[in-house]
Symmetry: C2
Subunit: 119 residues, 2 copies
């Protein structure tokens, strides 16, 4: 599978999980993962998921507009840049969002998010 297809598959899985079962995102982080979000840095799968589940909205739907990907370093990592729209339940207008994922391969051949930036 080529890197662009892998990146797209990860991102689609990530937002589908975010929109349907935010706690399920824990499988996509590890202890060394770090989320940068509105000036905060949050480390570790548990802390990141606690942050994401505490966001002040429940139902939401992400629509992806662009996914760009570049290989990163000798360990098989990828930098993935995503932009799109975020529709919150009860809101008339969607919000624009963009996120950056630094993905690293796991021992089982999938990927986890080593770093995540939200803007």
């Amino acid at each position: 599978m080529d890197p662009d297809a892998l990146a797209k598959a990860f991102v689609e899985h990530y937002y589908t999980t975010f929109d349907s079962n935010r706690n399920g995102l824990a499988n996509l982080y590890q202890e060394g993962s770090m989320l940068s979000f509105e000036g905060q840095k949050i480390q570790g799968a548990q802390g990141i998921v606690a942050k994401l589940t505490s966001l002040p909205f429940q139902q939401c739907q992400h629509s992806i507009t662009t996914v760009d990907c570049q290989p990163s370093g000798p360990a098989g990592g990828m930098l993935v840049f995503v932009s799109g729209n975020l529709q919150l339940a009860g809101e008339q207008h969607a919000l624009k969002f963009s996120q950056m994922f630094h993905l690293m391969p796991t021992a089982t051949g999938s990927f986890y998010a080593l770093m995540i930036f939200s803007g």
Copy 2:
């Protein structure tokens, strides 16, 4: 200087240069640099600057809203995520923008942009 301050200084220099003299951005890239932009990948300082100077607007002004930074790898690199507004001359409303920079140290102690994602 701490990483957050370095990242902020680089980003401010980058957008001041972009808005005043886009050709001057060539100093902030090297031959291995790559720009991902609207599905395209463009490699090398010369090609990247050619792309940026060919964008369909001349006068513009970037206002930075957020700069987030995480260290990246053993070589002293940094991932920097920027969001803000882009005001084009003659347009009533500013555009939202976000960009990701993978910065690497140069031999002279400054930084260059190894990878750049625009969204």
